[in-house]
């Protein structure tokens, strides 16, 4: 029996069809008067020295159409307090909102700004598998959306989320996702962010993973001026699991800010996060990944690893891989490798006619190919379209060829 999700928003929603909001560029010193500054976004649950500026991030987001800054700030304050306490909100939904990693400020802004709310329920005995496949497209028409998804006991579902923009677009996309995975259910979430360098994408996710439920996340952050993404998952049931694969390309002056908070409470719960990507130009990337092995989670395992290729003179990479442990019969591991292509690798590639810049392009193209090969058709098509103008025709052609090869092979 699934718990009913209630998403009622009290703050002023923007009318559908109104112009898409635009975020203030990250490098703009003074916030624009039509923007609001959110100060505690993507906060790590266990923090460290503040001088490192790694504990959380700030983000400036546009005011919804027709809403004053004062009104919005007040409604954010109110919404922060009441987000998870609204009438009709199920306990699982309330908890998912509570742990949503982007934070209450961001969730409240999305609640105040969203032009569309999606409510999905995946049932076990659905006649067609297609009925348990859901999609959310964040584009100029519907740039800010909220989604509530319940996957009922034993059911399987797929959710695809794409934040898309064209080369000249500058609107902000935002998404809040609240998920309740009932006992023995399975959910695959595919994420694609493929926007222009003038766009901002923000997303906050809260998931409750109950007994023996499994959550697979495949994420491809291919481009946007600024991406802020936070996923919080709570594992109250035994043997719940999470497998996350996060790939990113950050170029030019783009910024990527990722947070994963995984709270393992049930026995034999299992989490595994693998992040990898390429930073070039003046790119900035922050990854906060926390595995919280809580008291009682005997037999649990938590693993996180990251590989970052540095390929720009002015790149900034920050990584905060945290393991919190209050149980002895557990295994927690994390590893990180941060650096440029080794001289040996460059020599090898050089022997095959590739210079350093081409080798870096190859790394980026590999991530694009990975996205095209592993995302569902509608998302991989969008990734290809993006690659055409964002990376170049060669990358597009290679990825397209790979896709055709895969299709023919299948």
């Amino acid at each position: 029996m699934s718990e009913k999700m209630n998403h009622a928003t009290q703050a002023t929603p923007a009318a559908s069809g109104t112009p898409a909001p635009q975020a203030t560029p990250a490098n703009q010193a003074t916030p624009a008067c039509d923007h609001v500054l959110l100060s505690h976004v993507n906060a790590a649950p266990s923090q460290t020295w503040n001088w490192l500026s790694i504990n959380e991030t700030k983000v400036e987001l546009p005011l919804p159409e027709g809403v004053s800054k004062t009104d919005l700030e007040e409604s954010l304050k109110a919404a922060e307090k009441t987000l998870s306490k609204k009438e009709g909100t199920s306990p699982s939904c309330a908890k998912a909102i509570e742990i949503s990693a982007g934070g209450k400020e961001l969730a409240a802004w999305i609640a105040a700004t969203a032009s569309k709310t999606n409510e999905f329920v995946a049932k076990k005995d659905t006649a067609s598998e297609q009925n348990n496949s859901f999609a959310v497209f964040l584009n100029e028409d519907e740039p800010v959306q909220e989604t509530y998804l319940t996957v009922e006991e034993g059911a399987e579902a797929t959710l695809s989320i794409a934040a898309l923009g064209a080369e000249t677009d500058s609107f902000t996309t935002a998404h809040s996702l609240i998920v309740n995975l009932e006992k023995g259910s399975h959910l695959t979430v595919n994420n694609l962010v493929a926007e222009s360098g003038a766009q901002t994408h923000v997303e906050t996710v809260g998931v409750i993973v109950k007994e023996s439920a499994t959550l697979d996340a495949r994420q491809f952050f291919l481009g946007a001026g600024r991406i802020v993404y936070g996923l919080g998952a709570d594992f109250p049931g035994n043997e719940g699991s999470f497998a996350g694969v996060s790939r990113y390309i950050v170029t030019d002056d783009q910024t990527l800010d990722l947070t994963f908070n995984l709270y393992q409470k049930g026995i034999k719960t299992k989490t595994n996060l693998s992040a990898a990507g390429v930073l070039s130009g003046n790119a900035k990337k922050t990854l906060r990944a926390t595995i919280d092995l809580q008291k009682g989670c005997k037999g649990a395992t938590g693993t996180e690893n990251e590989t970052v290729v540095l390929a720009g003179e002015n790149v900034v990479n920050k990584t905060l891989p945290v393991i919190l442990c209050a149980e002895d019969d557990v295994e927690g591991n994390h590893g990180a490798t941060i650096g440029s292509l080794s001289p040996e690798m460059l020599f090898y590639l050089g022997c095959r006619g590739l210079n350093e810049a081409q080798a870096t392009d190859l790394m980026q193209e590999a991530i694009l190919d990975d996205a095209v090969a592993n995302l569902p058709e509608d998302l991989s098509g969008a990734a290809l379209e993006w690659a055409k103008w964002a990376i170049g025709p060669d990358a597009y052609a290679t990825a397209q060829a790979g896709r055709e090869l895969k299709e023919n092979h299948v």
Partner: protein, 474 residues
């Protein structure tokens, strides 16, 4: 009943710490009023007949202390520490001497019990001993002094030819603005050592300073300043202990290390403060081109610790090695680790830490590796292993990396787990008891740190581990 049995199996009994837990009378001692005020700071300064610049530094630091707040978002609570109940200056009033025979009987007895004079006779080039707020003993072998090495109390050095050098370096690496307790240190520091090793001089034996805080409800604020000139080599050992009281004690020392071009400094610490101690110590080294700093750090005592020796690699090819072990038992919350700031090409850093938690103790490994754009071809590797010895305790790892140089390589790995049943079963099948098997595994776990210590200190560390392990198996 079952619960009781289980508790016996997992809970740590009080260990016999009589080696460290003995109290000497404070009768006849001078003790400043508890709390902080400009008057107290001025009195400390006047007592030491300091130059005016030092008094001004103290007063400025006090102001910074009052204006600075502790960060609310990280670190263990220090709510149990009330500065209004801490005396910042306690002394027996006896002058510092260079012969153990002249040290007052009860203080000498303290250091005899701790084995300091014996260590001096057998394996040290020089010893300093601080009791509460003042040094009571300082001595160095003649042949070492003949090489131009200076090892004295910092206050003594402040009144000699090194005043200018001290002024140039004192609280420059750790400024009072660094954090609240570095500001407190700047205001009320007392005692500590000054070491100067001239260019090219290599000491065959270590120097050691031992800090003993005997007074209840008091603070110890010693300042250690070490200048190792180009091409010189020094091993400095720091030990500390205190008897246990029911009231909070505070240690807010400061260590500033300057390592010249091509010089080498190993700084070893076995910290065994009593479990009512708030250990809010700050240690920092600046390393010039081709120089190297090695930290060997064993943290066993204290109720609460904030301890992160930091290394600033300023010159090309400078290196840092950090080997640390932290053992958090019942009532302890030890937040330890290190910071490395790589600011020059071809710098190297290697961090290996171990932590153990038992009996409800909390051990947190916290680190930062910062690679600046200037650190071309820098290499850093961080390895952190944590062992949970029961399910009452807690072990967290919070490492941060900030890399801003394309050609740098930074690797990090961490694991948290417990001693595997298979390992214990294997050892027991060879006739070893469970308790011995566990102790063997823990000693093996700690080996990288004990290996880096001189033999007698490695033995002391292993004894501390043995003490901590007592009662772990019922």
């Amino acid at each position: 009943m079952a619960d009781e049995k289980r508790k016996k199996r997992t809970e740590v009994e009080d260990v016999d710490r009589s080696l460290y837990d003995f109290v000497k009378s404070e009768e006849g001692y001078e003790r400043f009023a508890d709390g902080l005020s400009p008057q107290i700071v001025e009195e400390i300064s006047a007592k030491k007949n300091e130059p005016d610049w030092m008094l001004q530094l103290r007063l400025r630091s006090l102001q910074i202390y009052e204006d600075t707040k502790m960060s609310a978002n990280w670190g263990p609570s220090i709510a149990g520490l009330d500065m209004n109940h801490i005396s910042t200056y306690v002394t027996s009033g006896d002058a510092q001497v260079d012969s153990w025979e002249e040290v007052p009987e009860d203080i000498k007895d303290t250091f005899e019990r701790l084995g300091i004079p014996e260590a001096e006779r057998t394996s040290l080039a020089g010893v300093g001993a601080q009791y509460d707020s003042e040094l009571v003993y300082h001595n160095m072998r003649e042949e070492v002094a003949e090489q131009g090495v200076v090892y004295s109390g910092i206050e003594e050095a402040l009144h000699g030819p090194f005043e200018e050098a001290i002024r140039e370096h004192f609280m420059k690496l750790v400024p009072p603005t660094d954090h609240k307790f570095s500001a407190l240190h700047g205001a009320v520091w007392s005692g500590g050592s000054f070491v100067y090793v001239p260019a090219g001089v290599k000491l065959d034996f270590p120097l050691q300073s031992y800090f003993r805080l005997n007074a209840a409800g008091a603070g110890q604020f010693e300042h250690t300043l070490i200048l190792v000139e180009d091409g010189a080599d020094l091993h400095f050992i720091e030990g500390c202990s205190a008897p246990k009281y029911n009231v909070a004690n505070l240690h807010a020392g400061c260590v500033e290390l300057f390592v010249g071009k091509g010089a080498h400094l190993r700084y070893s610490t076995i910290e065994n403060w009593s479990k009512n101690m708030y250990n809010l110590n700050t240690k920092r080294a600046r390393v010039e081109a081709g120089g190297s700093i090695e930290w060997v750090s064993g943290s066993f005592g204290s109720h609460v610790s904030y301890l992160y020796p930091s290394s600033i690699l300023m010159g090309e090819g400078a290196t840092c090695d950090f080997n640390g072990i932290t053992f958090a038992g019942a009532t302890q919350n030890l937040d330890t680790g290190c910071k490395v700031h790589m600011a020059a090409p071809n710098t190297r850093a290697n961090v290996e830490t171990k932590s153990l938690s038992k009996g409800g103790g909390i051990s947190t490994f916290r680190s930062s590796i910062v690679v600046t754009p200037a650190a071309e071809n820098a290499r850093a590797s961080v390895s952190c292993q944590s062992l949970m010895l029961d399910d009452e305790s807690r072990s967290d790892t919070i490492p941060a990396m900030d890399v801003r140089c394309m050609n740098a390589q930074v690797g990090h790995e961490a694991t948290i787990g417990r001693i595997s049943d298979d390992t214990i079963f294997y050892l027991m099948s060879r006739g070893i008891s469970e308790a011995e098997a566990r102790a063997m595994v823990v000693n093996g776990f700690a080996e990288p740190v004990s290996k880096a210590l001189p033999l007698e200190y490695a033995v002391e560390m292993n004894n501390l581990i043995k003490l901590e392990m007592e009662g772990a198996i019922g």
